[in-house]
Amino acid sequence: MKTESRTSHRADRTLEAVLSSTSSDSHMWNLIFVQLMLEEHGYRVTNLGACVPVEVLADRCAAQPPALVVLSTVNGHGHLDGALAVSRLRQVPSLAITPIVIGGKLGIQASSSDHAQHLRVAGFDAVFGDTAADLSEFSAFLRRVAADAFADEPLARRRCRQDTVRDRANL
């Protein structure tokens, strides 16, 4: 079920985002939505599809490190599956500072700040729920990642990353 965006003559200037569901989530409509959204923001998307084993995701991202990894999940197991996935991804040296985010319906009840904090501690740079406000935040995040990637001085991203690591250490 893997799909990829059509490449263009500007492919060398487009950022690749790897989009994936979690290992237990079979939903695809959310992946299609997020793929379209990423493409609207200028990303070239590799969509790994539903029920992606952690090792499949890790192998793909290690073989061709993308500019961004997005996990989208709506089956309510995201707070469990997402933490496992990002822990594995962060073990890959080339993904140590790659922006990795997760969003969707992360638990079986209304969005929980506990789930979000748990997922950030596990290694995600950002965690998004399923509200319209979350989509706006995700959109702003995508613009920031793109702006930072094309900036002459990527120090801001490194500084941001260091802050995140420090925040995790303080939690």
Partner: protein
């Protein structure tokens, strides 16, 4: 909802009253249809048997013609026993009822208490490799489930379709063992999910026809 953990039959059998006679799923549907009643089936599954029982009880008590559902959690669907164990150990909330992890005594106690001639209970799971789910379904005396080797593979699994077909053929034999217990196994052919997920209407009809061929040839009735 937070009471996930090891359960024993006595915890739920305390609720169990009379032993209900078998109520074939198809007969319940046919009887309600004959009375001109709209049948409502809230799809739901809870990790905790006590919550699962309470949910089914609420559905049965609703002022409507209802069918109960036990939806299996996503880890059980994927045969990921370790994830089920981890979730239960962490008191985490599963998105369905882990029918393989819970003892069949626990599940059958719920079924015996709630199922009767007017209230059927169906298991929904979404697995392309459901042998252990079918074993648990049969052990609990549940007579109704749904799905099929195509519709529970293409949207739900990364298994090759041929493997799913082989798995489901074995499951039909397992499900057929229910007749030894006096139940008529009932498999609802699930094609709607395919049309909703990715297929055109013609595919819906094609899948329904394929299932009409597949299940009866392997000893299981198939109804929409």
């Amino acid at each position: 909802m937070t009471r996930a953990g090891p359960f024993h039959a006595r915890e739920v059998s305390a609720f169990a009253g009379r032993i209900a006679p078998p109520a074939p799923f198809g007969e319940v549907i046919a009887a309600a249809t004959a009375r001109g009643r709209l049948i409502v089936q809230p799809r739901m599954g809870m990790g905790d048997p006590v919550d699962m029982r309470a949910g089914l009880l609420a559905v049965k008590a609703a002022n409507a013609s209802t069918v109960g559902t036990i939806t299996v959690d996503s880890y059980t669907r994927c045969n990921d026993d370790e994830a089920v164990r981890r979730a239960i150990a962490r008191d985490a909330q599963l998105n369905g009822y882990p029918i393989v992890a819970h003892s069949s005594d626990v599940t059958s106690a719920i079924v015996k208490e709630l199922r009767d001639a007017s209230f059927a209970i169906q298991v929904r799971h979404g697995s392309a490799d459901p042998q252990r789910i079918f074993e648990a379904v049969v052990a609990a005396g549940l007579d109704a489930t749904e799905g099929g080797p195509i519709s529970y593979c293409l949207p739900y699994s990364r298994l090759p379709l041929a493997d799913s077909v082989k798995n489901w053929a074995v499951c039909c034999q397992t499900f057929g063992r229910l007749r030894d217990k006096g139940y008529e196994p009932h498999l609802e052919t699930l094609a709607a999910v395919c049309s909703a997920s990715y297929a055109r209407l013609v595919c819906w009809w094609l899948l329904a026809c394929l299932r009409r061929c597949f299940f009866p040839s392997r000893g299981c009735a198939a109804c929409r």
